[in-house]
């Protein structure tokens, strides 16, 4: 009954969990620890999110689907080790996904890919108080893909996936303020690059 109730429960699109939802999810995790067959509702709930996260960093769709399966297999294999720390189960899955994606870049020679929309680049410009211009596109793309992996993750999570800082902090195992401060520093660098290019252009 519990499993069905949760399975059909309407969840908010991505992350927001009420205390009740967290508690129900905890029951599901405990059930899955007892019997892997009970992992189904968690798999159904998070499949799309995890695929989205993986595909955001990959170029090949099929590889992204394969990696998503790997993430859930790893989660199921290690679910006994999962400990509830007051954050949604999703954070734990994202960490596994991150590790699998990084592993695939190292061992399978998959290509690290950044996927963004023009509107995301415009958002970044808006955040650094610069009016977006067409010539900024290539500058921003170069700056972003040259960022160290940890910084790139922050930019991706915040601007391309539009996640809240609370969620970003939980995925990257940082404090919320730390995530904000780090992102501010990155944006500061972006701003300086854009300003410099503007001056050079003029």
């Amino acid at each position: 009954m519990l499993l069905n109730a949760v399975y059909y429960m309407e969840f908010s699109p991505r992350y927001h969990h009420t205390a009740d939802m967290l508690q129900t999810e905890q029951h599901l995790i405990e059930a899955a620890k007892q019997n892997p067959e009970h992992f189904g509702p968690l798999y159904d709930k998070y499949y799309k999110q995890i695929f989205g996260y993986v595909y955001q960093r990959m170029d090949c769709k099929d590889t992204a689907f394969d990696l998503t399966s790997q993430v859930f297999l790893k989660a199921l294999t290690n679910i006994e080790k999962y400990e509830y720390k007051g954050v949604p189960f999703a954070s734990w899955l994202y960490r596994i996904a991150h590790s699998e994606v990084m592993q695939s870049f190292r061992t399978r020679k998959n290509q690290r890919t950044v996927n963004a929309d023009i509107s995301d680049l415009r958002n970044i410009c808006e955040e650094v108080e610069q009016e977006y211009m067409e010539e900024y596109k290539s500058i921003l793309m170069t700056v972003i893909k040259d960022l160290p992996e940890e910084d790139l993750q922050l930019v991706e999570l915040r601007f391309f996936e539009k996640r809240q800082f609370k969620e970003i902090a939980e995925i990257l195992n940082l404090t919320e303020t730390n995530a904000k401060v780090k992102l501010y520093r990155i944006l500061d660098r972006v701003k300086k690059t854009l300003t410099k290019s503007n001056k050079n252009g003029n």
């Binding site: 499949y47 769709k61 294999t77 950044v114 040259d146 800082f165 303020t177």
Partner: protein, 583 residues
Amino acid sequence: MGTKFNIDRKPVPDEEINSHKDFGELIKTFKKQSIEKARSDTNFLKNKKITYTAIIAGATVLCTVTYFSVFKSKETKQTTYDKITTIPLQTNAQNSKSNKAFIVPPISKLNVPYQKFKLKSEHGATLKTQSNSKIIVPKNAFVNKKGENIIGDVEIQFREFHDQADIIASGIPMKYDSAGIQSHLESAGMIDIKGYQNNEPIFINPKKQITVELQSTQIADKFNMYELDTVAKNWTYLHRDNSLKGLEKQDNTVKENNVTKTIQKQIDAIPPKIEIEKVVYSKKINQLPKANEPTKPSKAIEGRPKFQLDVNAKEFPELATFNNMVFEVGSENKNYNSKLSEITWSSAEISEGSQKGKNYLLTLKLRDRIEKLFVYPALTGKDFDNALKTYDIKYIEYKNVLAKRLADEKRLKEEFEKKQAEYLAEQKKLNDDLIKERIKIRQEQEQQLANQFKSIGNQQRVTRIFQVSNFGIYNSDCPNSMPKGEVLNPLYMVNGTTPLLNLSYSYLICANKNLVYNLNPNEPLRFNPAEKYSMCIIANGKTYLCDHETFANNTSNKQNKISLKEISSEIDNVVDFKKALGI
């Protein structure tokens, strides 16, 4: 391999994602992997060679890591070739929609101004705004972009929004998307707070919080706290607003009266009745005469070893009808040999066997020796013929008893279900009565409260407390769905004569609530005729208003013409804008 950058890549449709979802396959792989792991773990530990190799390999890795960390300097970063791919845009409409800045004050020259305060970060301060709201800044409340404590002068920029005019002028979007459900936020007060030192943005120390005690005219206790996420372009729900000060919190609970108490007692009494009924039903079923199917006699097989035993008829009634019964030793008893028949056993007991009613377990004991045999009841010669006749009679009796029992069971079940249905119907009726009574009480309570507020006057203020951990925009709100009722395709007429086209913004202002609907000017106008509305339209850089009387008149006659009046272009402050809106 370098990093690739894709722009505007086509999203994967949900159907495609779902088609790859295969939990059955995941479980299959998991089980296969678990079995393989269990096997390899056993083999691995058994193999001493592998164990020694692992130890040697571990030691080698340790030495190598030590060597590199001590003797090798940092490697220079390699520059790799990076590929940039640009995928053409999907549609212009999508692009233009997302290109618009998130917070845009719709009326040029008009915005809610910031009040600026200076304080020493290491001292903290309590700041008072023009509307008597308080900003309580604790000591050492700020850090810089490096996360270091800030000392010295800092500037706090603060503005507050109280009514529909503030909301429109600020351009802060009040649309709220929760799980795909669109609504508009009815505000009980909103704040925007920023901090700077030497024009550089600062951050709130993660160990501290700024408290804002906002003076609010919205005294209802139905609001939640939200923070505006300018990147996700949506409000983030924080928690329920339980921070009301200055007015007793509204009691949302319904005060029970004698009627509801009596109904509740009656409702509470029903589940025990249902339980009692269940017990009575199962008792009656148990009391019905049991139909025991007689055992069909078996003819003894010649040559098979047999025991003659006295059987307790009460314990095994199915055997009681047969005279001179013998128990044949089953062929499955591999421990049987003819010598067992020669022993004088001190006790021989039978109990139920592996096939109920067909065989029995014979336990033979002599001092410490115990032998167990499966035996089958059988009859010989005339005894068998007699037993068969007796069986036929008993079987007819059994059938009759069984038929009667089934009929009685059916009757009792019907009676039970009828009684249960009566209880449930009674319970439902009582619950309905209770809800009706509670609605009545609630309405009375609300009426009393409304009267109380009326007598207090509309200047009553409360204090709403915002706990601010990050600079940004916060709101005490309640989501309202889009108005329902009438729909019309409006034609906006300036001074009743000139049609107004190319609308930039269209606001439907709710008079009874602190609520502004930001409408899509190209979509039909939806409104609830029972509500009181006015409108504010911005087109061609000019601002037009339709007051609530005109709106009511224009919409009541089912015409689609909404008459507007232009407001003075000289209005450049929110106070004058409020006057123009009639707030």
